[in-house]
Symmetry: C2
Subunit: 444 residues, 2 copies
């Protein structure tokens, strides 16, 4: 959006357009260098994106001096469709689904709405084009709390199609952070025999906010997608509160652990896969990834059956398991207490569920650690009733995996059970991971 | 339980009884000193509890030498009821409710069952009596997955009665770890104007297992209950995997984060209250506690209305909120995604719930961080529908608090709402706690 008068005239007189690199001097002597951003609606200040990805706003009446440093690179995607690709650079596909990373503040209501296309996203971050030729496509436009299994299918098919193209080095999915870990694990199951990286990324603050992490995370994702010899589905987000490095997490081992912080995502019972310093174009692998493969064709099994009930046990809970019977659900994932327990009074419902052919899987609400139904008498009764302990699978991942198993193999319950217990995308860790638990308090 | 022949005869000949301190020399030269424990059923080895709380088992046919070091202290509780208290030592009341801390392995099935009385617990750990005169009482005998709000009332009344006794320095509740955080926060709300510490503790391994943490945690709790100038409800559990120190957490800020590790409990968005080195009788306060008070009489509000539905949002979820209407529930706690969202399609049910006088509170499944329904459009719609954002209250704590608010003020919905938003026992943190989030991966 253009700036109002008199800002517009002044900029035009200096030959400055949105996207150009400029230098501002404020009346108190502060000097700011960065990319001129579109103005926020109705505000009388000028917004500059700093090198570190932060946006700052300067009140126009405090601006003493403004200079053009460098014209915007004119080979960017949105305005220059059909511009020839630059030789020697790999190509990355960005698939937009909505979410904060593609959002702007509605300055009338103050709320955030999805508003940017993937093309605009790229236009906002010209640095991306130093690393890769970027193709961008918007396939959904929703905030991620509204994500549904039917959209996972759509995303899986779109990503799969890109993976088949030889010229694509990697695929990035821009996604809201609320349910990013659910969708990333959905794709980890749906796309098999991966040949290239599929990188989910998002933002905790919308891209027109001063503290936006959109540019940083997208840049880190493009760097990982082009430089890493990894063929896995991952989540790449801020690694700490500053703008130093991003952390790459495996899709089935990651969880959003903070409602607002930029380093909200953490791996659970697993080391991160890698760290990325986006502005240095540097990737450091921490774990051994599955490598890129050119001799294999990825397959897609994109169906999800949403008739899975996820239920967390708590003292005084009603018999929520019964709802699966009442509503004709095909699977239940229990977030049990401790090693996976429910109140003993619910064991009888587990029996009725499994007798009716409903799969009942057990995880722990502790989040870290493995379930074990052999230690306590309640656990043994749950086993006798047909409950299936799902090792150290995260509850959210177990729910997604069960939707996927039922969607693709639902006619064969024995097969569904077999799949739920078989590691497919790192969701069950064969090695003991007890040492990967870290404490929230300082050790003394 | 006594040892079989020929172990029994040999022990008897040396004047050694269960509970005595002994020295064993194994044929390979290994020397072990500790307390002789009851034998595990059917096993042909001898079990010794080491100073650090661990039990070790030595095959009898490998024992080369066995010596008595010290007879068991004979002033312990269970065998010597009525023994005069020792002058100068404070008195601690231990209330047993069951759980692993009061459990032994059933060696026939291999499962763990609650089997020890609180008295037996104390008998097992004679060191407790070096620090305090111990009174012990068993009021429940359940594994904690079977904990129910009606039992919270029973525990609250029992604890409250002890707090009124001048001679009691502090009260300890031995509880299963699965739902300990639920019960401890229940007591934090139910007992007001606390005058002394109420310490919850438990064990991740039963006390007849080699790796049991029962002795360590109980000792740390007694040390805290006698030495700390704190009048709060807390959870005291292992601080790391070794046997160095225990960590004391505030009841409303703690969560079980690992299914099996001994350091499973962690404070969320809060520093721990204290560290305890049990064998050195040492307490180090980390946060500022509410202090002991002699001029105040604790009150108890022990009612809990269990008709509260706790629901976690996930993609593809059915309209679980409706169940609260169908079953006549009086409150709902939502574990929303991110800042507290549900899928937009559920907002209409929130409206129907609040129209029907059902309280709908919102927390985040991220666990860390504050909810905020003002940022995104879905959140604003939830607010318009009458949902109440509960700041940084943990979901489990919000559920317990709502049961308590409805139990004691349920006829006045306006009052319930007011109470839910008012910090009562540290469950809402007034200060910003964003810096208390710690990462599970090493910072680089």
């Amino acid at each position: 959006m253009e700036y109002p008068e008199p800002i517009r005239s002044k900029l035009s007189q200096l030959g400055i357009e949105i996207g150009d690199k400029i230098r501002l001097v404020r009346e108190d002597g502060l000097i700011i260098e960065g990319i001129l951003m579109p103005r926020p609606r109705g505000a009388n200040f000028i917004v500059v994106k700093l090198r570190n990805g932060y946006n700052v706003g300067i009140a126009w009446d405090k601006v003493k001096e403004i200079t053009l440093i460098e014209k915007k690179k004119r080979y960017e995607v949105a305005k220059a469709k059909g511009v020839p690709k630059r030789e020697g650079l790999p190509t990355v596909k960005i698939i937009g689904t909505g979410g904060t990373i593609a959002s702007k503040i509605d300055y009338e209501t103050g709320a955030v709405k999805p508003a940017m296309s993937a093309e605009e996203l790229v236009e906002d971050i010209p640095e991306l084009l130093d690393v890769a030729n970027i193709e961008a496509e918007q396939i959904l436009e929703i905030l991620s709390e509204n994500m549904e299994p039917k959209y996972w299918e759509k995303i899986a098919l779109a990503v799969h199609a890109e993976l088949l193209r030889d010229e694509i080095a990697g695929v990035i999915v821009a996604h809201g952070t609320d349910t990013m870990a659910y969708t990333s694990s959905a794709l980890a199951f749906a796309i098999q025999d991966l040949n290239k990286p599929v990188v989910f990324t998002g933002a905790q603050r919308s891209s027109d906010r001063p503290s936006s992490d959109a540019a940083f995370n997208l840049m880190a994702s493009v760097v990982f997608a082009t430089k890493a010899n990894a063929a896995e589905v991952v989540v790449t987000m801020h690694g700490e509160t500053g703008d130093t490095y991003a952390v790459v997490h495996r899709a089935t081992r990651v969880r959003k652990f903070h409602s607002t912080r930029r380093d909200a995502f953490q791996s659970v019972c697993a080391e991160p896969l890698a760290y990325v310093w986006p502005w240095a174009y540097e990737v450091k692998m921490i774990s051994e990834p599955l490598n890129r493969r050119s001799n294999i064709e990825p397959k897609v099994l994109p169906k999800f059956d949403p008739r899975v009930l996820q239920v967390k046990a708590y003292p005084g809970m009603p018999d929520l398991l019964e709802i699966a019977l009442e509503k004709g659900y095909r699977g239940v994932i229990i977030e049990g207490t401790g090693m996976g327990h429910v109140p003993q009074r619910l064991v009888e419902t587990i029996k009725r569920l499994t007798d009716a052919g409903v799969f009942v899987g057990v995880t722990t609400q502790c989040i870290h650690g493995t379930v074990n139904l052999n230690v306590y008498s309640t656990g043994r009764e749950m086993l006798d009733a047909g409950a299936v302990p799902l090792e150290d699978m995260l509850a959210e991942v177990a729910t997604v995996k069960l939707m996927w198993a039922l969607g693709n193999y639902g006619n064969d319950l024995e097969k569904v059970r077999e799949i739920m217990l078989k590691p497919i995308a790192g969701e069950i860790r064969n090695r003991r991971t007890i040492n990967l638990y870290r404490l929230s308090y300082p050790e003394i």
